[in-house]
């Protein structure tokens, strides 16, 4: 018997494969966006789709985000399943009108008669040395809009599994792709993609006894690194990858926090009005009597995203995370 060695794949490749398989399985799946056809997208995530399925299935649109999402609404009304690409986080803003006024609330307005199975893919976050408007973490805007699922993978397997599920979902999904993880690699078999937990479930990426780091997307590898480094300081840290910001998995998060009694929420998005505030509040409401210390947040500063030469000071890094862990009132232990 021979076993074929499974080669490493990048997150970008897994995302491409997810769209490819979805398009092959379901003729109503259409990809549209700026430069997604001939070029294969500026990050090459739609590479090969136009060639394999034709330009009607993977379409270079005119350059207008409101138009892309607005026409996707109409396509969905007529039974298609659009997967739209916003080229960068900050270039999705012209589409907000469509997203907030229509995409998010069509199911509710029509009493369930007109669901919109649209996936909005958005490369997001910093850490790639991008100039102004290329590094925003816009998840809080989406999270604050009822009716949208907000999903973000941190692993190659999740990139495939979550995107397949997002495309298959009858609800609109804002699918946030951490652009600095596009080239991250893992062994992953495109012919037999591993099953992953569904949208709405968080996953414990590392178990630990002393404190829980709660995070998602681009900050997951940073937290895992912090947890490794924390061992030297004598802390055994747990890392929870949320994967899905909406719906939110209170169960997994709270179970983890109850085990350790201490929690730090980590994300790139700004702290004030950011996702961490909601997460910390939910933990406090549900796990107050298990907490040994206030839930802390390590987030991007409350400033416009910095220029590339200064972004390392803004992004939550290992040291800043460990500093927060150190502030979790360990003295009380003794």
């Amino acid at each position: 018997m021979t076993t074929v060695a499974v080669k490493p794949a990048t997150m970008a490749q897994a995302l491409t494969r997810a769209m490819r398989d979805a398009m092959a399985a379901d003729p109503t799946v259409h990809v549209l966006g700026e430069d997604v056809g001939t070029l294969g997208g500026v990050f090459r995530v739609t590479d090969g789709l136009a060639k394999e399925f034709g330009e009607d299935r993977c379409t270079d649109t005119p350059l207008a985000e409101a138009g892309i999402l607005g026409t996707a609404v109409g396509m969905a009304m007529y039974g298609l399943r659009p997967v739209v690409e916003m080229q960068f986080d900050a270039f999705a803003y012209p589409a907000f009108e469509q997203l907030i006024s229509h995409v998010s609330r069509m199911r509710n307005r029509t009493r369930g008669r007109m669901p919109l199975p649209i996936t909005v893919r958005v490369p997001y976050g910093g850490g790639i040395g991008g100039v102004e408007h290329h590094s925003d973490s816009s998840e809080a805007y989406y999270m604050a809009t009822p009716g949208l699922h907000v999903v973000t993978p941190a692993t190659v397997a999740d990139a495939y599994g979550l995107l397949r599920e997002a495309i298959a979902s009858d609800d609109p999904v804002v699918f946030l792709e951490p652009k600095r993880l596009y080239w991250s690699k893992d062994t992953w078999d495109p012919e037999h993609p591993a099953d992953v937990e569904p949208i709405g479930r968080a996953v414990v990426r590392r178990t630990g006894r002393d404190a829980t780091l709660i995070t998602y997307g681009p900050s997951v590898p940073v937290c895992l690194e912090a947890a490794e480094a924390a061992q030297a300081e004598g802390w055994d840290l747990e890392v929870v990858d949320l994967r899905s910001l909406v719906p939110f998995d209170d169960e997994t998060v709270c179970a983890a926090v109850r085990r350790t009694g201490r929690a730090v929420v980590v994300h790139e998005a700004t702290g004030f009005g950011g996702p961490g505030g909601e997460i910390a509040a939910r933990i406090t409401e549900r796990c107050f009597h298990h907490l040994e210390a206030p839930v802390l947040r390590v987030a991007g500063f409350d400033i416009p995203y910095p220029p590339p030469m200064l972004e390392r000071h803004h992004l939550p890094g290992v040291d800043r995370i460990l500093d927060a862990v150190a502030r979790l009132q360990w003295e009380a232990e003794g």
């Binding site: 005119p62 350059l63 012209p94 408007h133 500063f301 200064l310 040291d319």
Partner: protein
């Protein structure tokens, strides 16, 4: 009489008199892009102006090659080159008076430099040490705009405000062919025409929006034709003919200043380089097309005109080249110096007055940096 009989007798009255608000004929662009160089019109062009344009084009090309080289050396994070589009970039700057305003996009750093802004300050955004490096008020140049077409309504608002204040200021706003598909383009043109704002919109149709060719961007006869729908004149010009671009933009600026309202100018040109250094243009276009446009090079066109008319000789060419080299050497030297970076500046100018929260975050970063410094010092001490 039955109801049906009554209906049969009914004669609809004609609608109240209708007439178009504007006669569309004078708004229509020419059938072909307007050209000056190599045509009879060139004879009427001011020789001094042509020579000035030539010197600026040579400088502009050198600026582009220098910025591209600096990007390859890692001195710029990214560079969207305007190689091949220098005629548009230079003319846009030269047609304006000092009191006028320029609204550039990310590709228009050359226009900004030609307007007199320091090139290092202009390239700050693309080097990545800050967002906008120059004082917009110093030369009346709005910050380089990356979100496409969003600068256009700003230009309209500024021009409108100037008119309300009684100032004869004109705003010239630049945008690419792709940018014309954005909603902000439509809204800006509509506002400008309704308000008769003194604005000139310069669309550089360089054939592509990253990989997407114009044919996928618009079904309009030309981008200049779009003007007619808003009730403003549309002008179509050969964007590689510096004399023609200068004349058409100059006319539009004078028209706006005299209270005639906005104009949309489509300059037909070509993006010779890839979208940016990060782009691979071989994925979506062939060499033959690029070569055809290289043959229609803006500098060569003007050089030919000037030399055939005896307005430029070998020493003149050499002098322009020399001047451009000096500019490039200065740019190179200054860009090769590490920019001064102050992480604490991240917290400045977020608001007019900082907040308690930002003060806290600033203190956190300072403590981190001090701890980092201590660790580094300790390591160095240990190594000694």
């Amino acid at each position: 009489m039955t109801v049906m009989e009554q209906r049969g007798a009914y004669r609809p009255s004609p609608p109240p008199a209708w007439q178009p608000r504007t006669d569309p004929a004078p708004l229509l662009p020419d059938a072909e892009p307007y050209r000056v160089l190599g045509t009879e019109a060139a004879g009427k062009a001011d020789p001094d102006l042509l020579r000035r344009l030539y010197a600026q084009l040579v400088r502009g090309r050198r600026y582009n090659t220098q910025a591209t080289a600096l990007t390859k050396q890692g001195r710029l994070a990214v560079y969207p080159s305007s190689t091949g589009q220098e005629a548009c970039e230079v003319a846009a700057a030269l047609v304006l008076e000092e009191r006028d305003w320029l609204f550039p996009s990310y590709r228009d750093t050359l226009a900004v430099v030609a307007r007199g802004v320091d090139p290092v300050e202009t390239l700050t955004l693309l080097r990545g040490d800050w967002h906008n490096g120059y004082d917009p008020h110093a030369h009346r140049v709005a910050p380089l705009s990356t979100p496409l077409a969003t600068q256009l309504p700003h230009a309209v608002g500024l021009a409108h405000a100037a008119r309300l204040k009684g100032d004869d200021v004109v705003a010239l706003a630049m945008v690419g062919d792709g940018g014309t598909s954005e909603g902000d383009f439509h809204e800006a043109l509509n506002f400008a025409a309704v308000w008769q704002a003194p604005v000139v919109f310069l669309v550089q149709n360089n054939g592509f929006a990253i990989s997407v060719p114009l044919a996928k961007q618009t079904a309009a006869p030309s981008l200049a034709h779009k003007a007619v729908g808003y009730g403003m004149p549309g002008r179509l010009v050969d964007g590689n003919d510096a004399a023609a671009v200068h004349e058409v933009l100059g006319d539009a600026v004078r028209h706006a200043r005299a209270g005639g309202g906005p104009t949309l100018v489509e300059a037909v040109t070509y993006r010779i380089e890839a979208h940016t250094n990060a782009d691979d243009a071989t994925r979506y276009r062939g060499d033959a097309e690029v070569e055809a446009w290289r043959a229609h090079d803006p500098i060569r066109l003007l050089e030919q005109e000037l030399t055939t008319r005896g307005l430029l000789d070998e020493p003149g060419v050499e002098a322009a080249r020399q001047d451009a080299e000096e500019m490039a050497a200065d740019l190179r030297e200054r860009m090769n110096q590490e920019p001064e970076l102050d992480p604490m500046a991240l917290f400045d100018h977020v608001y007019a007055e900082t907040t308690a929260q930002l003060r806290e975050q600033r203190a956190l970063l300072r403590a981190e940096l001090e701890a980092e410094q201590e660790r580094n010092d300790a390591q160095e001490g240990g190594a000694r």
